[in-house]
């Protein structure tokens, strides 16, 4: 997350002290990503080193007042102009967890999905409630409008996750159905072969279970979608 550019954006409206920047950053984003004062000063020091801001005097307590430079303005404009890169996504713990749950012994991946869905939908309920409280914002209040945008981003993000989880579950169910059908097909073929052998038994001697010796485990059992539990 770019604290750096966030601070530059706030400084563009005028000189600020570090503590002021922290307060404004949080009120603009509804304290969704809280900053500590240390982070603010570390970032300001780097910005100063890179020539994006300069100090312009101090208050009585010795706090420096920061001012954006032309280089800082240029950097800020570039930031607004260029898209946020989505092609090198950060590691996603949930995606990693589901990938690991495929075939993990003793783990029903549907339980993993449901426990996440529970959490995600609950988070959405909470965000939605905050949003319901935030909708009578005045369009002139920058902080209110910004907070509403941030909240809605959280709602859309959790929604995407909930839908993705639904999709994962549907996908797994479909894969397991496909597998059941394949199994049936194979049994039929085996029976057909036995009938064609024409040994006079009319296919009546059938193994109770068409011994799957040395077969690969079925996709259903590989994805942890055994049918034992739900039906």
């Amino acid at each position: 997350m770019s604290i750096r550019h966030g601070l530059l954006a706030l400084l563009e409206s005028g000189p600020r002290y570090g503590s002021q920047l922290r307060t404004e950053f949080e009120s603009r984003t509804g304290a969704t990503w809280p900053l500590n004062v240390g982070q603010v000063y570390t970032t300001l020091n780097r910005l100063e080193r890179d020539g994006m801001v300069v100090q312009d005097g101090e208050d009585d307590a010795g706090h420096a007042l920061y001012v954006i430079t032309d280089a800082g303005r240029e950097e800020l404009r570039n930031w607004f102009r260029s898209p946020v890169d989505r092609r090198s996504p950060p590691r996603d713990e949930l995606a990693i967890k589901l990938a690991m749950a495929v075939g993990a012994p003793g783990i029903d991946i549907r339980d993993v999905i449901q426990s996440q869905r529970h959490h995600t939908v609950q988070a959405m309920q909470d965000y939605t409630r905050l949003k319901a409280q935030a909708t009578d914002v005045s369009p002139d209040n920058r902080d209110d409008v910004a907070w509403l945008l941030v909240l809605e981003q959280l709602i859309f993000q959790t929604e995407a996750e909930a839908r993705w989880l639904d999709h994962c579950e549907a996908r797994l169910v479909r894969l397991s159905l496909m597998n059941t059908q394949k199994e049936k097909q194979r049994r039929k073929e085996q029976e057909g072969a036995a009938d064609a052998a024409g040994d006079g038994t009319d296919g009546q001697i059938r193994p109770a279970d068409p011994a799957p010796t040395g077969e690969k485990p079925s996709p259903a059992s590989r994805v942890g979608l055994g049918r034992s539990r739900s039906r």
Binding site: R117, Q122, M124, Q125, D126, R129, L130, I155, F156, S230
Partner: protein, 246 residues
């Protein structure tokens, strides 16, 4: 959420519904228990075929369960006779459908007044009630419009007004946002939410998590059974705690 323990407006007890028989038997619902209290909006989610629409049609008296009880405002729909059920549907239960189902030849106010008139209220009184209901939902400007003169979102809001006119306290909504764009859908949900905040009990069937999130409680169905449910957490500080860890 209600503080004192009020009586549920809707109770489903050990509800089962089996379609067909023998080899083609389908268990649409397998032992559902659900109470919905005044002031509460409950969302029912689940993949298609999980039984969510069946649950709603049974709760609304449009279908009968194979076993179990459906109790609406203290009347058991499974033992009531047809006349009683019809009366209950006029007086206690409002139904909102995906495709609005307003009567095209009637204005918004007439649509809202209709269930009251059918229930024996005089036309004039029914009209007054309807206009009041529309005003309460900020829809009074639509009172004299016909359905084809309204947008989808407006029609659906009128349908909610119709579902809750009179003393009716139970609104059952089956994918009410299905035909609407995202923002209009949201305004419909906001209205449903505000009606529940004002004391109605609502059951919303949806496959859209963003709309389900308006509910106090989200019930997840799978293969005709409740597998899980969420409660809205009480914490307002949810945005400070975990966010700092990221």
């Amino acid at each position: 959420m209600p503080d004192q323990a009020p009586h549920p407006v809707l109770q489903l007890k050990d509800l089962t519904r089996v379609h067909g028989s023998g080899a083609t038997e389908v268990h649409a619902l397998r032992g559902i228990n659900l109470d919905v209290f005044p002031g509460e909006l409950v969302a029912v989610m689940g993949p298609s075929g999980s039984g969510k629409s069946t649950l709603l049609t049974i709760a609304g008296g449009l279908d009968t369960p194979t076993s179990g009880q459906v109790i609406v405002e203290n009347t058991d729909l499974t033992t009531a006779d047809r006349k009683q059920i019809a009366a209950l549907r006029r007086r206690s239960i409002g139904y909102v459908f995906q495709d609005y189902n307003l009567i095209p030849a009637l204005t918004a106010a007439e649509n809202v007044a209709l269930p009251r008139e059918l229930d024996g209220t005089s036309a004039r009184k029914a009209r007054t009630e309807a206009v009041a209901a529309l005003r309460e939902m900020d829809l009074d400007s639509l009172a004299d419009r016909f359905p084809d003169e309204m947008s989808g979102g407006q029609q659906q809001r009128v349908a909610i007004a119709r579902a809750l006119v009179g003393d009716r306290r139970l609104v059952l909504a089956d994918e009410p946002t299905g035909a609407l764009d995202s923002e209009t859908g949201e305004s419909v949900l906001a209205l449903l939410r505000s009606r529940c905040d004002a004391g109605a009990a609502g059951v919303l069937v949806t496959h859209e998590p963003r709309f389900a999130a308006w509910a106090d409680r989200v019930v997840f169905l799978r293969d005709g059974a409740v597998v899980d449910q969420t409660l809205r957490s009480q914490a307002d500080s949810l945005l400070t705690g975990q966010a700092a860890e990221r």
